[in-house]
């Protein structure tokens, strides 16, 4: 019986060992695996797997690639792949942990903005593939009576991604390396936020104020419009709330509106 049991696990053991050998061909292997790994053609599998992953990362992080150059990007991606194979076959979405990886990647220590730029590349991908949703029109807000604001919650659009970066002009750095290559004007070195959203068919990107980011954070957490306004004022007491709301609605940042019964 034991022989049968062992026989029935052969395919599983082979896959375990082959998968390990793809990442590390010199790792201890059975005789069967050793006879495969020594064949020069084994490198084709190893190369194809690595190239597929690295190509996907390069495609998914174009601003990072432009900042550091293709050679640096592919070398960093190769290190990332070693510990982070894709979890799903949808390579369009590969690289969820790449920004966090760059934050702790010693060769990137001189580029303190790189990880956050990667985060915006990632947000672009997420916005690109998010579910479709009709963005909330401004007319839905203007009809609200002031007393209703405290009972009203705006849900961020299904594709909306945003962040505030306190220290560096991440949105400007990212935009220039993603699509505004021609803009070579002096960059003011201060905090910046970004809003990335796909209200209809194409991804739109806009600068976001600190107050705007706080406002969206509160909406996402389920807070009312009043809560969101207070959160915005807390980070910037001079924020123009009316302008802020108009800007977010124009960008298509919201999906659903919910007004709780009195």
């Amino acid at each position: 019986m034991q022989v049968v049991a062992q026989e029935s696990n052969r395919l599983r053991r082979f896959q375990q060992q082959f998968a390990r050998a793809l990442m590390d061909p010199v790792a201890g292997a059975s005789d069967e695996m050793a006879s495969l790994v020594v064949q020069p053609a084994f490198a084709i599998y190893r190369n194809t797997v690595h190239k597929g992953c690295i190509d996907a990362l390069q495609a998914n992080f174009p601003a990072v690639t432009r900042l550091v150059g293709e050679q640096w990007m592919r070398a960093a991606a190769a290190v990332f792949v070693q510990a982070n194979l894709p979890r799903t076959p949808m390579l369009l979405e590969y690289g969820e942990q790449f920004a966090a990886f760059l934050a702790g990647f010693p060769p990137a220590a001189d580029l303190p903005y790189l990880s956050d730029v990667a985060r915006l590349d990632r947000y672009w991908t997420e916005a690109h593939v998010a579910r479709d949703e009709v963005p909330l029109g401004a007319d839905r807000i203007t009809v609200l009576a002031p007393a209703e604001l405290a009972r009203t919650t705006l849900r961020p659009h299904a594709s909306a991604r945003w962040a505030w970066f306190d220290q560096q002009p991440i949105f400007s750095i990212w935009s220039r390396n993603r699509h505004d290559a021609a803009d070579t004007s002096e960059m003011e070195w201060r905090g910046e936020g970004a809003l990335i959203v796909r209200p209809v068919d194409s991804v739109q990107t806009t600068a976001l104020s600190h107050a705007g980011a706080a406002f969206l954070d509160t909406c996402a957490a389920g807070g009312s419009l009043t809560d969101a306004a207070l959160a915005a004022l807390e980070v910037d007491a001079t924020a123009d709330l009316s302008q802020l709301m108009t800007g977010l609605l124009t960008a298509g940042a919201f999906g659903q509106i919910e007004t709780a019964p009195r």
Partner: protein, 285 residues
């Protein structure tokens, strides 16, 4: 057999508009469904627009049928949603594995053709066909490695899968050529023995030579036009088994749409000349 399908092309995002607007006779498009497994957005909208004008083929690269584990239910569900939405004329997968232990490797990995593998793969194909409520075609792989442990020849193995699951076959002629060269076999012997009645689709693609070993090791790289030797094998095959929907695959160094269309015209010509004069049995769809 889908008699309205002649030669098709792999659909590339940069060619969406040209593909949608092209009116070549019998043209169809093949996609890798993994590239469209998204919740929303422009990709699905583009595909919908192409589908409104042309038949589609869904050619999966990641079902990992040869892994010793059931197909991933989440992946199968995503695949099924695409089949239901786009109603493809053809659906196919590979005789290979890629997902294992929670990680995906973007390649078509090999295995020894044992009885154990046969039983596992047959069970996996049946699960996929049951979920999709349709037959799928299984593609012969490209080979690079000599395995000691094979218990079946490849054609015998594929024929057993057909017998046990009712699946169809996708015959990739470039894979036959590449494998024969790499493993020192005769591609004509293989092609002439292939069970033509079960072939639902044919693939043609370009290959490249290994940068280190040269022409002794060919790589199924899909980055070049179809090689003359592969065209010759294709024409021999179609003469024997008759016409089948034939795809020109190109995944790297993708040229302009018109260049692919010109290459596709050669397969279309073969289908409508050699292919129609051959009179051979095809299993009823």
């Amino acid at each position: 057999m889908n008699s309205h399908l002649s030669a098709g092309l792999g659909l590339k995002p940069q060619h969406f508009d040209a593909a949608r607007d092209c009116r070549a006779d019998g043209l169809w498009f093949e996609i890798h469904p993994e590239n469209y497994m998204v919740e929303g957005g422009p990709r699905l909208a583009w595909l919908q627009a192409v589908r409104a004008q042309h038949p589609l083929s869904l050619h999966g690269v990641a079902m990992s049928l040869a892994a010793d584990v059931d197909p991933d239910p989440a992946h199968l569900a995503r695949f099924k949603r695409l089949v239901e939405r786009f109603e493809p004329a053809l659906v196919s997968e590979h005789l290979a594995w890629s997902t294992w232990d929670g990680a995906y490797r973007p390649d078509l990995l090999p295995f020894a053709r044992t009885l154990e593998a046969l039983l596992r793969i047959a069970a996996n194909i049946s699960r996929v066909q049951d979920a999709l409520k349709r037959r799928i075609a299984i593609e012969n792989p490209s080979h690079y490695l000599y395995f000691d442990g094979h218990e079946f020849g490849e054609i015998e193995f594929l024929a057993e899968l057909v017998r046990r699951t009712g699946c169809g076959l996708l015959l990739d002629v470039n894979n036959v050529f590449v494998s024969a060269r790499n493993l020192d076999a005769d591609p004509i012997v293989y092609l002439d023995a292939f069970p033509g009645a079960f072939v639902e689709e044919i693939h043609l693609a370009g290959h490249s030579v290994d940068p280190n070993l040269g022409a002794a090791l060919l790589i199924d790289s899909h980055d070049a036009p179809v090689a003359p030797e592969v065209w010759a094998l294709y024409e021999r095959l179609v003469t024997r088994i008759g016409a089948r929907p034939t795809l020109i695959e190109r995944d790297d160094n993708v040229p302009a749409f018109d260049e692919l269309l010109a290459e596709r015209a050669r397969a279309h010509f073969t289908i409508n000349t050699v292919g129609v004069s051959a009179r051979h049995a095809v299993r009823a769809a």
